[in-house]
């Protein structure tokens, strides 16, 4: 069965610091990968997605992620975080044989001024 691991449960950064959130998955076949964000009091929103092609994908609000197949990873990055990036971030996997999303447990990002 597929699974997603997010090792950083709670990250605290100062504004302008660089961000990298880890995501590793377990599945041997073709994968589609997503990062979703949940701002306080708001619903899950798609940050970016990888289906195929260029393994470096760019999303909204300056976020990007790199798919490294050999490492089963899809880490999320942002060069300079803002206070408004404070939110919960979820990595999710959609496998080729199923259409259900498998989520990681999430990383709570707190950006301080």
């Amino acid at each position: 069965a597929q699974s997603v691991s997010q090792h950083n449960h709670h990250v605290i950064l100062s504004e302008a610091a660089s961000l990298e959130l880890g995501c590793n998955y377990s599945y041997g076949g073709t994968v589609n990968l997503f990062w979703y964000v949940q701002y306080p009091g708001q619903h899950l929103q798609l940050l970016l997605k990888y289906f195929s092609g260029d393994p470096l994908v760019k999303g909204i609000k300056g976020f990007e992620a790199e798919f490294i197949k050999s490492k089963f990873s899809f880490n999320l990055r942002k060069p300079s975080v803002q206070w408004s990036d404070t939110a919960e971030y979820f990595c999710a996997l959609l496998t080729g044989t199923a259409s259900k999303l498998t989520f990681g447990t999430g990383t709570r990002l707190q950006v301080t001024l």
């Binding site: 997603v4 997503f34 708001q42 259900k100 999303l101 989520f103």
Partner: protein, 112 residues
Amino acid sequence: DAGVTQSPTHLIKTRGQQVTLRCSPKSGHDTVSWYQQALGQGPQFIFQYYEEEERQRGNFPDRFSGHQFPNYSSELNVNALLLGDSALYLCASSLVPGNEQFFGPGTRLTVL
């Protein structure tokens, strides 16, 4: 363009009762998936409906059932509620199964 909508926003029930949650997909979407998000956890897949049939199911008991209507809207029913069913229930829609999913705001269910 309306996104995914869910009703009600909040619900309080007691153990043993039954509950029905509703979801309207994003315009043009025909596939609806339901997820349960417990506090501090990522969403867990319950099931998916496409062409009015349950297409796929996660590891949830038969107390959880659903329905999809001809207009693609969907209901999630939970019978014999347990305290552990307290969670945020999310509905997501997609253009077809396998495409990216768009989430609604969720229904917060509290079981006392």
